[in-house]
Structures are given as C-alpha cells and as structure tokens.
C-alpha cells in the first residue's frame, strides 16, 4: 500500500517482479495519506508492505520489520548504500524501510541570465552574501515595480530554510529531537534566519507571498533556483537542462557543509505474513531497477552507489552533482520530532509575518520553543 500518487515505478516493479516470480501476485493499493496507511496497518487486513512519503510512519516503533538482517545477507549491499543516506535512515539503530523518493536541494542557475548580466557563474566556494549580491543584479523590475525576473526562486517553508540553518552551524532541535529549546532560539539559527528574511525584505530578490509577478513559472523568470531533484528532473525531461548550471548551496558564516535530505521509504510491515517475499519485492523495487534512475527520466536519487553508476547518473552534468551532495546530508528536524513536523503550518504562518509584517525574527524563533 502506498501514499504516493506517482505509481509508474511501482507498476513497473510489479510487472518485472511478477515476471521473475510467476507464482506471486503483487496488489497495489493507494491511500490518500499517512493516516489512511496507519489505519490500514491497524486493520485485520494489514498490507505486507507500506510505502510512504516522509518518515512519520517509520518512526513508529514495531510497525515495520528491521531490514538490516536482510541487508546483511546480501554480500556488499551494506557498503553499497550511500553512507549519508543510511546515517539518516538508520537513525534509530535499525532500518525500517528502504529509502525511496530521495531528494535534496541545490542551486540551479540560468546561464543565459548570468551571461546577459555579464556575471560569472557561481562556484561551490560562494557565500550567502555573494549570492545576494548576484541575486540583486539578476532581479529586474519594471517601472511599476513588478519584477519580470527574480534573482532567487525560493518558497516559504520552514523545512526549506533548514539547510541554510545547518550550514550556519545551527539546528532547530536537539539531536534526539526531544526539544527545540536551546537550539532554535540560538544565535546561529537567528543569524541565518535573519539573512533569509532579508532576502525577501531588504534585497527583494525573492518573490514575496502574494507579490505580483511577471516572471512566469520557476523555470522561466528566475535566475537562481533552490531546486530539489524533482525540479532538476523536470528540466532534464523537458529538454531545458542545457540552459542551467548547478552549484552547491552558498556557504553561510558558520561554515558547515551540510544539506537537508528528503526521502520516504518502502518497508515490510510487522504484520506481514510473507516478510521474506515482501523484502524481496521492496529490494527489487528500490535497489534493482537502474532504469528508474536514468538521467533522462528520473526525478529522485538512488539509494546505492552502484545504481547511481549503472543508471548513468554519475556521468550526467546535473545529476552527478546531486549524487555527490548525498555525502553531506544531515537529519532534518521533521524526521526526528513529530511535534515539530505537525506544527509546520503554524510556523510557516509566522514566517509569513516576518516577511510581510517585519515580525521580530529572534522573538518568533524564541516563541517556537513551544512547538518541540
């Protein structure tokens, strides 16, 4: 059972698995969200396997079989997994599911916009302040003040702010996720947050919530884009990738080389009546299908180094940079505290207030200690 709405990978895996195992039939059922999946698990007809976006269900103790013993049975598999990924996936000392839908953000920039402005392309050693200076040069507003080109394409979501916080040496939460007090309210977080809010309010290089724009879609009128793999994949699929270059997130004063990671997982439920067969299927689905990660059609990253090689990702000018970045991922706040994660929209409302009303950043961050 899955709560993904893109089902092509599952359907492909089902077809090839059934072909290789003629006596087995895999039934795919869709659920609208984590809650429906949990209800299905609790019912008398629990699915053998559950695939879910995010990590919320995989934090439920005893809901999934630990896959590490199965992994150990396959020679070389443990070493083949990307270690950055496994640091996050095995944070509780077990592996409740095989990572799927693996994504992280980098900066994708429009080479033609840099060329017309006579600016050099950014490189991995660039700083946040340098990025802002570039973004200001690359923001073009008409006489009416409406931008037809923005320097930086970035949304408003606490989760997407997090890599910049991490890179400044800050964290939203304690390592075990038990509290945000003494973390989210600390100077490194406040400093990075102020810089981000200034990008909207002072530098005016990001489209503010509700701001009129003539810049079109993200791939059209934005010079630098905070782009996850889903977006990068879209560029490649639509033949636009030649226009873009890719570079790491800018360095923050804290000087830490970190990034966030987004992923879900496919796990074998503890109620499964066929755990070994279920493991075989999730392994086939997540680890044996290089075709799912061909640079020409992929939108997410593979879990193993061999898949990255075999699929051709490591040779691709854009995808290879994303694969490389996996070495630097850290565990985000939303993976380790459901309370923090559940408060996302309340927090985002506060970020809107910072951007639109100039609400005091330090005061708001301090008040977020109530969320975890």
């Amino acid at each position: 059972m899955t709560d993904f709405h893109h089902l092509h990978n599952l359907q492909d895996a089902k077809a090839s698995f059934e072909r290789n195992n003629p006596d087995v039939q895999v039934l795919i059922e869709q659920a609208a969200d984590h809650y429906e999946l949990l209800q299905a698990y609790k019912s008398d007809e629990a699915p053998d396997m559950i695939e879910s976006g995010g990590w919320a269900l995989f934090n439920h103790k005893d809901m999934f079989v630990d896959l590490l013993p199965y992994v150990d049975e396959v020679p070389g598999l443990k070493e083949d997994f990307n270690p950055g990924l496994m640091r996050v996936a095995c944070k509780d000392g077990n592996l409740p599911g095989l990572p799927v839908d693996i994504a992280l953000p980098l900066i994708l920039y429009r080479k033609d916009m840099f060329d017309s402005a006579g600016l050099p392309y950014p490189t991995d050693d660039w700083t946040w302040d340098e990025m802002m200076a570039l973004a200001e040069r690359l923001t073009i507003r008409g006489d009416n003040g409406v931008a037809r080109q923005f320097g930086f394409g970035f949304g408003v979501d606490i989760e997407e702010f997090e890599p910049f916080i991490m890179r400044n040496g800050g964290r939203y939460l304690s390592a075990d996720g038990s509290t945000s007090r003494g973390h989210v309210d600390q100077p490194a977080v406040i400093e990075a947050f102020r810089k981000l809010i200034d990008a909207y309010r002072v530098h005016r290089v990001i489209r503010n919530p509700g701001e009129p724009s003539e810049a079109g879609e993200l791939h059209q009128g934005f010079a630098m884009i905070f782009g996850f793999t889903w977006f990068a994949g879209g560029l490649v699929i639509h033949g636009l990738s030649d226009k873009f270059g890719v570079v790491g997130l800018p360095n923050m004063p804290g000087g830490e080389r970190s990034n966030m990671l987004y992923m879900g997982a496919a796990g074998v439920t503890s109620k499964s009546r066929h755990p070994r067969l279920a493991w075989e299927f999730v392994r086939h689905y997540a680890l044996e299908r290089a075709d799912a990660f061909r640079p020409s059609s992929a939108r997410t990253l593979p879990a193993t180094r061999s898949l990255a090689e075999e699929s051709g990702m490591t040779q691709h000018p854009i995808w290879s940079r994303y694969v490389q970045e996996l070495d630097h991922v850290q565990t985000s706040g939303f993976y380790i505290s459901e309370k923090w994660n559940a408060s996302r929209q309340l927090i985002n409302e506060d970020i809107h207030k910072m951007i639109l009303e100039g609400a005091d950043v330090a005061q708001k961050l301090n008040s977020w200690t109530r969320f975890a």
């Binding site: 089902l7 795919i28 969200d33 809650y35 559940a342 309340l346 409302e349 809107h352 301090n366 969320f371």
Partner: protein, 600 residues
Amino acid sequence: MRDYDPSGVRIARDREETEEERHSRVLAERAQLGDTEAFGELIERHRSQAKMWAERITGNPHMADDIVQDALIRAFLHIGSLHDTSRFLPWLHKIVRNQANMRLRRGGPYKREKPFAAFGSAEGEIDAVDWDDLDSVLFHLTRTAASEANNVHDPAESLMRKELYETIHSVLNCLNRKERDIFEAYFFKQLSPDEIAAMYRMTTGSIYTYIHRSRQKLRQAHVRVSLGLLPKGGGKALVKSKLLQLPEWPASDAVMLSFIDRIGQMLAAVGDRRDMAELMGISGFAFRMQISDRTTYADGLYMFDWRQTLKAFMRELGYETTLLCGQLAGSPVPLLGAVERFPVVLPIEEAVIPFIRQEIDAGRPVLYFDTAASRPYVHEWSLIYGYDDDKRTVQLTDVMKPEGKMLAYGDIALNPVRFLASVRRIEDPARAARTRAAKGMEGRRIAESAILLAIAHARNPRAYCPMTAYLSYTSGLSAYDRWIGHMRGDPAVPPNRYGAGQLAAAYSQTRRYAAYYLRGIPFQGEAMRLALLASEAYEQASETLAEFSDEVPFVRTAEALSPEQCGKCVVWLERAKAFEAAAIGYLEKAIDHSEKGKSI
C-alpha cells in the same frame, strides 16, 4: 467590599465590570470549557503584562520569557481550577510569581528542578502553593473549594468540586511514589513518555506500563466512587450517564457533506430544524468545488478553515460556537492541509470528556470530527449525543450506522484530530425582532450574500491555500479543469478510484442542493428569472455528475479505472463544467438586477 491582591492588582467587586473585564471573563469561561482559541486570545491580551510581572521579580528579561512560557502552560493546564472567572488576571499573576520564585530558588533556568512541597502552610498563605507539585496544588484546590463552599453563593457547585479534588487526591494516594511521579510528569508537566523515560533512566515501554497501570487504578477508583465507597458519603454527582434523543434523520435525506448534515441535525436537536437546501446554500457548500492538485483524492472536500467557517456560519444562523481544537503530535494526522494549522495537544481525556459531559448535560449534542468513521468513509463529522461514565464511552452518530455507535473515552482522547464544537443561540431579542420585521429584506440580503460567495468561489482557483508548499488545491470552475487533467492523465499518475467516486457523488449532490436553494430565494422579476435559469443549469450539472457517479461508485477498491472509463468521465466533467459556467454567468447577472432593483 473590596478585595486587595498583594501584587498590586486591585480588584473592585462593588462596581460594574468594564467591557475589558467582561470580555476577559467570557474568554476565561470559554477557556475553562477547553476552548483553546479563547485561551489563546486571553494570552494574547495578557502576555505583555505577565512578562512585565516576571521581569519585575527577576530583573532578567530572558528568564522572564521562560517564566511566562511556563506560567502560561500551567495556566492552561489548570484553568479549570479557576473558580472565579472574573479573577483571571490576579490568578495568572500568582502563577507567574510562583514560577518566578521557583526559578530564582533554582538558581536559573537550567538547574535541575527541586519541587517545593511545603503545602501544609498556614491558612490564607495561598502563595505557598507550588504549582509543580501535585500534592500542593490539590491541597490548595481542596482547601479553596472548602472555604468557598462556606462563603459563596453556590455551595453545591463548590462542594462538588471539593469532592472531585478529594477524589483525585485519594485516587492518587493509591499510586506508589514512582507511579505518582510519572503520572505528574505526564499529566501536569506535559512531558512525553520518551522524556520521562530519559529522566528516570527507564525504557519508554515501561513508562507506558506505569501510565497504563495508573490509569487502571484511577478507573477502579472511579468504580468505587460510583458505588459511593469513596470518598466518604461523596461521589453522588461524579459518575453519570446521559443520552440525548436525537431527531429523526433518515439516511435517505442525508447530505453527503457531513459537516453541513451534522450541523443540520445538531440544530434540529435543539429545536431549530432548518431546510437543508438553505443550509447548503447559505454556507456556500452547495456551490463549492475543490480538487487536490495531486490526484483525485477526495481531501479537497474537507479543505477549508474549519474554525473560521463553522464560527462564521453559525453566527449567520444566530449561534455562538465553543470549540475544542487541536492535533496530536505522536500520530499521523489526516487532512494535513486543514489540520496542521491546529495547535498540538496531548491525548488527555480530562481535556475533552468534561466538555462533552457539560454539553450533553445541557441538552446540546457535540459536533465531533470522527477519524474512525465506518467504511467507505475514513473520517467524517458526527454528533456525540450521549456519555456513560460507568462504561467510559460516548454515543455518537456514524454515516454508515443509523443506530449510532460507541467510542471509549480513551479513543476520543486519542483521536489525532481534536475538533469538538457546541453552539448556543445568541440571545439577541432586538436582532430577532428586526429579522422578523424585515424578513423580506433580510432574506434577500442573505441570498445575495450567498450568491456573491458562490460567484467569488467559482472565480477563484485558489480559494484555500494551506501554509505549506507540499499541498495545493484548485477550486471553483478551475477545479473541473484540474479534475479533467487527472482523469485524462499521465499514465504514471492514474486517478485514484475511490477518491474520484466520492468526489462525483458528493459534488453531484451539492449541485442538486444549489439548484434547490436558488429556486427558493426571495428575488423578484428579472433577478429571479435569472436565478431560476442558474438553478436549472445546476440541476443539469448535477445530473451529469451523477452519470459519473453511477460509472464510478464510491466504494473502497484497489481496482484501477480503465482508460475507457476515464474517457467517459472526462466528457461528463466537461459537460458539467459548461453547465456550471452558465449557472455562474446567470448568477452574476441576477446580482446585477437585484442591485438595480434596490436602487430603483
């Protein structure tokens, strides 16, 4: 008589309360019922005052912030113990002062807490209450209740409270020291089992066992109370049951949007039966359409600001709403787009059951969001119309069970979405008289407002935007395009079948109600003719969507839709959209004529 608070907050009881005091009192009363929004408003009003007090005591603005935070949590936990709601401010002041003193005693915010248990202090020294120590709090509450029983106007009420505190106290005495510590940490300090486990160097599992065991002991004590064994001679008012008689509500007449259907039933239960077409029309739900941008999941049906919508709609109908609202953190929550904006709350029975008891006792059923709805539904609004302290269950409605069903108190507390509401008629005779006198005008105003709402919704592709980049919905006429896009779709993203079935059934029905509603509005002349044309167009849209619904019925199935079925559905959706676009065009003209009619 004057009452003097040593902090300098002077209370004059022999004068009329000011508007500000009245408002605070009403908020405190609502907060006591568990209305988290009311509590939030109270806090907004008094936070800076609280900070000033804390700063004055500690001389440290940072520590003052922490103190206020802790004091507010404590105030929230204990607001039920505030006997005189007009004294919220002095009461809050005491909590702030106690918190500040405790911090100072501890030598700073991060020193390990050493509970102060000198609760047996001299009569009148209520400042000695240590709000972190359950014994002290209970002792204080019991004593206050006893002395109030001697002095205030309603001794029965205070005595009942006294019994309650004594009961809690006695029950807690059944627990051993460790059980009590864990119980206190869990219920009063709001620590999670993981945090408690870390504190006591135990496993989380054993913490759960402790909490479970304590709960069982409490339950046994409850039984004893019901038998009159504890406390001596008391308990008569503590354990009760009550079942309200709900009005007949045949399933054949029910509206699929359970939000409106339950509101209709709730009003009928208090003797105010309304026409469903009127409720659907005035609320705007007859005209709404919202489709997820991801696929044909039916969550768009539930995506709106629940709190604001319910309050505004009930106000329009002449009712005031009391809300209990939140989400649990430890469990996945459905309908994130709407629910993630609720505050995170703890699964504590005491936070919900007293509210249910009180409303049922007053003869009012409680609107409740049931996340254990019977299949094919996953979650729906229901009405709680009975409770039984002995069995520890509530009785509630379920769309698929005409006879109703029972849920345990524990299940209510563990519902990951906490949304309970009750309504009371606003006593405003002047308004009622005005309405009666100008019924024609009032009816026209309401209809115009409903139609303007319908037009605004139809023309707005983003009527509801969750505060997250991960979820988005398309609304109004554009929702048809989104839906068509899903059905026509990329084979990689096949339309979700059961979701599409629910959407078709629900929206076919809402369009039928739009047609009914428009037939009954008090417009005249050309405006009415246009409204009737719009009604006809909605009827056609409804029938077209019904064909979709017949092809894809709302049942839970893993079966995928065939390309042929999707093709047929696309044709129906395109046709329904054309009808609805025509209806909106007629309504825009009808409003123009109605406006002209007024200016003539």
